[in-house]
């Protein structure tokens, strides 16, 4: 199955060219949402959504229109879109392309971020000419930028994120010497993936915290 993903704002013309230019599309998944306190925006987005649904129905293409509760919540949208892409891949469906031209600014940027992290071909559509611009994205291969030990530490921290782990406790969980873990932590701090915080009861100890962004980077099921 071939799926086209997209973000949608006021203009169906920003999404439909990608459906037309992709071969054998079986499904279109698009994300839309408007500022709830702006009736004009709500109306325009609803009209655009209806147009895309009508177009797909006529072309006999299945659709999944995702209404975003808050189209300005960057992180939540990024997590949602990345999860949907992963699910499609797990089910053996091909995500042919993701059109990030429509929708609010945070929606479009969140979609771009998900595409970079998942290596999905991405297009932009020119505002005036409706010409598609293919973005030369490079998938972030973490095996190349993080060592096996570093990834193990990050996974362990993610699994135990509700706990406040010290370096010693972390070393026990990953089954390595404290000095070894300390060396890897220094590298991870330099890369901006983790940070150390003061222990609330013992000033000699440090708590190892995963940066919020690292959770986005690792995803939920790698």
């Amino acid at each position: 199955m071939v799926a086209v993903f997209g973000t949608l704002g006021y203009r169906p013309k920003s999404l439909i060219p990608t459906i037309r230019s992709t071969q054998d599309v079986d499904k279109v998944v698009f994300y839309c949402g408007a500022d709830k306190y702006d009736p004009e925006a709500v109306k325009k987005v609803a009209e655009a959504k209806r147009s895309v649904l009508d177009y797909c129905r006529t072309m006999k293409i299945a659709t999944d229109a995702v209404d975003l509760d808050d189209p300005f919540d960057f992180k939540r949208i990024a997590v949602r879109i990345r999860g949907d892409i992963k699910r499609h891949k797990r089910e053996g469906k091909e995500v042919a392309v993701f059109n990030i031209a429509g929708g609010t600014r945070p929606t479009s940027s969140a979609a771009l971020l998900a595409c970079i992290l998942e290596g999905v071909p991405t297009v932009y559509v020119h505002d005036l000419t409706y010409e598609e611009i293919h973005l030369p994205l490079l998938r972030i291969e973490y095996s190349q930028v993080l060592s096996v030990e570093e990834r193990q530490i990050l996974r362990t921290l993610l699994k135990n994120k509700s706990k406040s782990l010290t370096e010693v406790e972390l070393a026990k969980l990953v089954g390595k010497h404290k000095a070894t873990v300390n060396h890897h932590l220094k590298n991870l701090i330099a890369k901006g993936a983790v940070r150390l915080e003061k222990h609330p009861e013992d000033s000699r100890k440090k708590i190892v915290r995963l940066e919020e962004s690292t959770e986005l980077l690792l995803g939920d099921d790698d």
């Binding site: 945070p106 970079i116 611009i133 293919h134 930028v145 986005l216 980077l217």
Partner: protein, 212 residues
Amino acid sequence: MKVLLSTFGKDDFEKVVQAMRRLPYERLVLVGDAKAIESKSLAKIRGLEEMSGHEVADELVPEDGFMEIVDAISEILDRHSRDGRGKRNEIVMNISGGNKLLGDAALFAAFRSGTETYHCDEKLTKLPVLRGLTAKDRFTPSQVRFITQMDEPSVPFDRMVESISPGNRQPVERVMRELRKSGMIETKVESGKIIISLSDAGAEVARAIRMT
């Protein structure tokens, strides 16, 4: 020196002020199109900075053309990361200002250059860009050399051997296979000769390597 670089649109006074409050900095750089640079919002921000004895550096980027904007932002990031005395400035970037095209291009440039990046609106979201890790860091030195030697759209394999490792085809062949497998190059046979060309992703890597 800590540099805060923020994308900026003509009505984005509040967004930039939010970023200024939440992300500590010593020098402020605003990146936008001509309308943003001439806007009242920018004048107000200049006024705020003058109160602390500082100036705002404004950087003009093209209004159109995604990759042109990406290249312009990459160049700005590179320039502001150097302090002129051989040291590196610490740059953080906020991508919440300006139009969609500018924000997305800035996000793209952040991953290209390994710049610590935030989306600062009502909430502050740190983006998963690993600091200091550029596109170049994802390749071995031999692969980087191969890619940067691709100075024309199509290059015969024999010419690559001559320029990389004269008389020694085997290591160049190995790198060629690695890069073909990772989708960076494409090869075809023409008149019995192997011709190599960069894929779209490979061309982006080549551009990123040259800019960082």
